[in-house]
């Protein structure tokens, strides 16, 4: 099996980190995040290379990642997973202006600019660009700006998959609610519901299998989980 070169954004916590830890057992994985290294609290594989690149500033994040790739001597990327995302819960569907802007910057503009920046590395291998969406991309009154940002990613993936056909694969994965600290950060308490959320490790497995299959769009929710989606599948 070839040792892949993989970049994952937003991987200092949650499903991004679970996926990175998992893939780092067999591949070379570079991860990005906004946190200082000492603020990473979840188990972080020693095999991972960490690049601090906050997506609050999209142009700078894309530039930092491109520079890190150049410096690392990596001449190709087999997989890029654009996973970083934030969201905020609202009352009566009224988002704050600042939160709309930061959600758009982190989730949409940064994803566009990083996708653009990694293209030279990715197209060398006809690799796969995986964008992490959300089941909320069809609309959600609890967090309208977040749903809108994920709809943007869905639309981006649809058009870009067509544009890059032949030079790179573009796919979007829409995970369902997952047991991470995202809900707490978003100001939302799912209560008892949280207990039935899919755990991040099986979610990371489902993501790996979906990445290996290259289909798009793919919904990673309970239906797939119960159908054995976290047990059976092709490893990357």
């Amino acid at each position: 099996m070839i040792r892949r070169k993989i970049l994952i954004t937003g991987a200092t916590t949650g499903i991004g980190l679970a996926l990175a830890n998992r893939l780092s057992l067999r591949h070379d994985v570079m991860v990005t995040g906004s946190r200082a290294p000492e603020d990473i609290t979840e188990p972080f594989s020693a095999n991972l290379t960490y690049i601090r690149a906050s997506q609050a500033d999209p142009e700078k994040a894309a530039q930092t990642i491109a520079e890190a790739l150049l410096k690392s001597g990596w001449t190709r990327l087999d997989n890029v997973v654009l996973n970083a995302g934030i969201g905020f819960v609202t009352q009566k569907a009224l988002d704050d202006v600042d939160k709309i802007r930061s959600t758009q910057d982190v989730n949409v503009t940064s994803t566009i600019l990083i996708a653009r920046a990694v293209y030279p590395w990715l197209s060398k291998t006809k690799g796969t660009l995986t964008i992490v969406g959300s089941v909320a991309h069809k609309g959600q009154a609890l967090f309208p700006a977040y749903a809108a940002s994920k709809a943007a990613l869905n639309g981006l993936a649809r058009s870009l998959r067509s544009e890059w056909a032949g030079s790179a694969v573009v796919q979007i994965l829409h995970p369902g609610p997952t047991y991470t600290d995202m809900h707490e950060k978003a100001g939302y308490d799912p209560g008892w519901m949280r207990e039935i959320f899919i755990r991040k490790e099986p979610m990371a497995k489902m993501m790996e299998y979906a990445i290996a299959r290259k289909h798009s769009p793919v919904t990673l929710s309970w239906l797939r989980y119960l159908a054995g989606g976290s047990i059976t599948g092709k490893r990357l």
Partner: protein, 249 residues
């Protein structure tokens, strides 16, 4: 009766202003440039890509009377190969087409500057149904707008009786469409902005969920619902393959 239109100085936005004026509305046009012969309009100069000026716009609207109709129409595009379009152009597309209208809409609702039982409209694009290889960030921004509208619709209706309409026009006979269309595209088949504005306006006043101006748009939307992937393939063949340059704004 008061109406607010963003991007009302040209194209579809100007047509909206004209229709509203004909119907006796007092119309405020938010645009970088004043409209030609705009003596009947209240013009607020605002570059929607600049967050500080958008903040000032929000402040100004907050001090005035509520609007009965608000149309988020302003939009730009960036066409060409995704990887060849400048980062700043992609960022501007997202900011002007999606971030600014969502921010202004939410701020107006918080300040109660949309009248009770009023109407809000977002001008998305037919690309929401078809995909748009050759303008991937534009397609992304228009999908954001459509889903934002969908997300707020029930809550706004419930709390203020306000309706939210999403319009999905295809390419119109405007300078904007002309600049972004591939070489040799037939502009004669396109609908005029006046016709599109009339059709969309009637849906806005009825409080319809969506406005698909014209038969062609309705057919494309239908095909997009039944067979989204083949439709994007067609878009690749008729648009993306013919693009030989990048065009921004």
């Amino acid at each position: 009766m008061r109406a607010l239109v963003t991007g009302g100085s040209a194209g579809l936005g100007k047509a909206f202003c004209d229709v509203l004026l004909q119907n006796g509305y007092e119309v405020t046009n938010v645009d970088r440039n004043p409209a030609p012969n705009d003596s009947n309009l209240v013009h607020i100069a605002c570059d929607l890509s600049d967050r500080k000026t958008v903040d000032k716009l929000i402040e100004k609207i907050g001090k005035g009377e509520p609007f009965d109709i608000v149309i988020f129409n302003a939009g730009i595009s960036a066409t060409g190969k995704f990887e060849e379009i400048e980062p700043a152009s992609h960022a501007r597309v997202v900011e002007i087409n999606a971030t600014a209208p969502m921010a202004i809409c939410a701020a107006m609702m918080q300040a109660e500057k949309v009248a009770k039982n009023g109407h809000i409209a977002f001008i998305s694009s037919l690309s929401h149904f078809a995909g748009y290889p050759g303008a991937s960030s534009y397609a992304a921004s228009k999908d954001a707008l459509a889903v934002y509208a969908k997300s707020i619709r029930k809550a706004f209706k419930k709390s203020h009786g306000i309706t939210v309409t999403t319009a999905y026009p295809g390419p119109l006979k405007t300078d904007h469409a002309e600049r972004h269309a591939p070489e040799g595209a037939d502009a004669e088949k396109r609908m005029t902005p006046e016709d599109a504005a009339n059709l969309i306006m009637s849906d806005i006043r009825k409080g319809s969920v969506s406005a698909l101006p014209g038969t062609a748009a309705k057919i494309v939307a239908l095909i997009g619902r039944i067979a989204p992937k083949p439709l994007t393939l067609v878009m690749r063949a008729i648009i993306y393959r013919k693009l030989d340059k990048t065009v921004a704004d």
